[in-house]
Every structure is written in structure tokens, then in C-alpha cells.
């Protein structure tokens, strides 16, 4: 990590801690700022994990209520971004496992080559995006075991670094590396089969 990166990180941590401090002191604008900064990211994460626009809106709403409830206790041990993503991922896992079984247990080493399928009743049209290519990728993504899908979504859709993903998922960087690689590999295989 270069000097510039470190000082940027320290600066953004200061901003994050200050937001939490303001929230603790009852400044309602603080939460609005947090919401404006992360709404789009959280909504997209929820959409890619649930594969459903309405579900994504509900999840986003619930996630931000949790963020609101706990923002005062944010202490700056991580960035606000990874802190919010961690809440978001945990909430999505918790909620989505209620109406459909996890496509893959969240252990660190899902079996090689195992591809399980998400509930087919979540119609492909719900996953549809404008481009046909995008739709194919989205459908493939929805079919990945959830541990791999989470890692690929955090990396390629949300643009988090491996270090940030490790923090969000609470696993080691080596595990992140392996989940991303295997997720991509399975996705590539799925897209080849279907093309």
C-alpha cells in the first residue's frame, strides 16, 4: 500500500468516524449522507444476491434500518464501506435462506465442480438486464453456489479489493482468492455450456 493510499484511507476513516459521531449526537443529516453514499451499492448487492428487484428494495430498506440502528456503535476499526457491506451480506444471507435453501453451504471449501441451482421460480425475466449478454451472465451468476456468487459480486460488481472482501466476509484473503477464482471458473463453464 503506497503512502498516498494510506493517507487517503486514514482520511476516509476520519470522515466515517465523524459521521458515526454526528449520528450518535442526534444529527439526522449524518444518516442521510451515509444513505446517499451507499444506497446504490447496497441495492445492487441485494439485487445480485436475490435476483429480484422487489426483494432487493425490501432488503435494502431492512439493511439501512440496521445501519441506522448500529451506526452509533461504528468505531472505525474498518471503513464504513466494509462495515455496511458486512451488515448487508449477513442480512441477505439471513433473509434469503428463509425462502430458499442456500445453494451451497457457506463453508470455506465447497466441493470442486459442484454447481447447484437457485430456485427456478425466480423467473429469468426478473434477472434480465438490457443486453442479452448481460442477461446470460446474470443468469449464470444466479446459478453459482452462494459462497462463490458473493465473492464474485463483491469483486466484479462492487469493485472491492481482496482485502476488503476478506473483511466483509470474515474470511482469510486466501479464501477470497479461491472463491473468486472458482466462482469465475464455474461461471465461465456455465456460459460455455449455454452458448
Amino acid at each position: 500500500m503506497g503512502v498516498a493510499t494510506v493517507s487517503t484511507l486514514i482520511h476516509s476513516l476520519d470522515v466515517d468516524v465523524e459521521l458515526a459521531e454526528r449520528h450518535r449526537c442526534g444529527d439526522t443529516q449524518a444518516f442521510n449522507e451515509v444513505y446517499a453514499r451507499f444506497e446504490e451499492m447496497v441495492y445492487n448487492l441485494a439485487f445480485r444476491l436475490s435476483g429480484n428487484y422487489e426483494e432487493a428494495a425490501d432488503l435494502t430498506q431492512e439493511i439501512f434500518l440496521r445501519v441506522y440502528r448500529h451506526l452509533g456503535s461504528f468505531g472505525g476499526r474498518s471503513t464504513l464501506k466494509t462495515w455496511i457491506f458486512r451488515i448487508a451480506i449477513n442480512h441477505c444471507r439471513d433473509r434469503l435462506s428463509r425462502w430458499r435453501p442456500l445453494t451451497q453451504p457457506l463453508g470455506d471449501d465447497p466441493g470442486e465442480g459442484e454447481v447447484t441451482y437457485a430456485d427456478p421460480s425466480r423467473g429469468p425475466e426478473e434477472l434480465a438486464v438490457a443486453a442479452d449478454e448481460g442477461r446470460r451472465v446474470a443468469e449464470g451468476l444466479a446459478r453459482l453456489p452462494s459462497a462463490f456468487r458473493e465473492a464474485v459480486v463483491l469483486r466484479d460488481i462492487e469493485g472491492l479489493s481482496y482485502e476488503e472482501i476478506a473483511e466483509v466476509l470474515g474470511v482469510r484473503i486466501g479464501t477470497v482468492r479461491s472463491r473468486i477464482a472458482r466462482g469465475r471458473d464455474q461461471l465461465r463453464a456455465l456460459l460455455e455450456i449455454r452458448s
Binding site: 444513505y35 446504490e40 428487484y53 434500518l65 433473509r95 449478454e133 448481460g134 469483486r155 473468486i180 469465475r184
Partner: protein, 218 residues
């Protein structure tokens, strides 16, 4: 480096999430190996495809809904804290402790009923909303932990993804109860203010009829 690159190495190489020495080693192998070069380019194509997927735009009214919910929640929390603070100031005297406990229960239930009867975002000129109660109890105390909550005469701790009654943090629930079920309805009729915790979809683990019960909205 004689062996072909592993999928993990290719994937980390695309992300540049690799140390300098290993990066150099992989580059040397790639220069010499058309097979791995072609695998690298198909990995790159895939990553570009994923990243080019259109991002979903949050619905326009989502921000409004979230803020409305948060305002409603904030008012309940404020009421909760003020009531708690008020009664804490009394409980230093043991002779009023029992009476206080009863009073807290009554006020919490009253607060809950009042809160249930108001819309999520009370218009500012509306007289009959929860905020009115606050004038009785003075300023909001700062610095109380956000992650504990006293309802139903018990202390609940936010634990990972649910509210757990203090002392039960390490216990597996003996039963799981849905709010809509007869058992759930019986629980909520005895402890109406549990709705404060359940309202956003959180689960609540508590002691009930000699067992540890997890209550959820469904």
C-alpha cells in the same frame, strides 16, 4: 516456472492481487506459453462481461421509504430511552424499585399502542404522536449503547443478527415461533412491546415458559 498457471493464479493475475515477485514469475510463464495466454484472455473476457452488466437503479421512492422507516424507528428509540432514563433515575431508591418496574411495563405498552396507532412519518403539526410523550421526560441521554434494548422488562442484546435476552447469548433456542402462529400471538399479547424489536424483521430470542424461544415475524 514449468507448470501451467492455476485458475487461482490466472484470476488473481487479472485482478493484479498478487505480489511483485509472483507477478513477474507468471508473466515469464505467460510469455512462453500460448495455452496459458489463451486461458488468461478468456478469463479476462469473462471478467469484462461481468463488469459490463448494467447496474440496477434503486426505485425512486426507496430513499423516502427508508427515511420514513428510520424516522419512525428513531422516535420509538427516543421514547424508549427517555422512559428508561426516567425510571433509572428512580430505581436508586429500593423502595420504589418494584413500583417502577410495573410503571415501566405500563408506559412501554402504552408507548407501543400509541406508536402503533400513528402513521410512519407523523406530519410535524400533528399533535397526537409519540414525540409528545418526550416532553415529560426531558433530554435524550447520550452515550447509551445502541445495541441493547430494554423491553418486556428484560434486557436484550443485539447479537449478530437477532436480539437475544441477556444471559441467553450462548443458548440454542428450544423452539422457533412465528408471530402469526397461535403461540406467537400468545407471546405478543403477554409482551406487546416486543413488537419494538420485531418490527424491522429482526428475530428475538427470549426466555418463555421455561424454554428458550426464538420469535420472528415469519
Amino acid at each position: 516456472m514449468k507448470r501451467h498457471l492455476s485458475t487461482e493464479q490466472l484470476s488473481s493475475f487479472v485482478d493484479a492481487e498478487i505480489g511483485h515477485a509472483e507477478m513477474r514469475e507468471l508473466e515469464l510463464h505467460l510469455e512462453a506459453c500460448p495455452y496459458c495466454r489463451s486461458r488468461l484472455s478468456s478469463m479476462r473476457r469473462l471478467v469484462v462481461e461481468i463488469r459490463q452488466m448494467e447496474r440496477a437503479t434503486p426505485p425512486r421512492d426507496l430513499a423516502y421509504q427508508v427515511k420514513a422507516q428510520v424516522v419512525a424507528h428513531g422516535e420509538v428509540r427516543t421514547l424508549e430511552r427517555r422512559v428508561r432514563d426516567f425510571f433509572r433515575s428512580l430505581v436508586f431508591d429500593p423502595s420504589v424499585r418494584a413500583a417502577t418496574a410495573m410503571g415501566l411495563g405500563t408506559v412501554m405498552v402504552a408507548g407501543f399502542l400509541l406508536w402503533q396507532s400513528v402513521p410512519p412519518v407523523p406530519p410535524p403539526h400533528h399533535g397526537a404522536n409519540v414525540l409528545k410523550v418526550s416532553t415529560t421526560f426531558g433530554e435524550t441521554p447520550l452515550g447509551l449503547p445502541e445495541t441493547t434494548s430494554e423491553v418486556a422488562g428484560r434486557e436484550f442484546v443485539w447479537s449478530g443478527d437477532r436480539w437475544v435476552q441477556k444471559g441467553l447469548e450462548w443458548r440454542q433456542p428450544d423452539a422457533r415461533v412465528m408471530l402469526a402462529s397461535p403461540e406467537g400471538q400468545a407471546m405478543i399479547s403477554r409482551h406487546a412491546d416486543l413488537m419494538l424489536l420485531l418490527t424491522d424483521g429482526s428475530r428475538v430470542v427470549m426466555r418463555y415458559r421455561l424454554g428458550t424461544v426464538e420469535l420472528s415475524k415469519g
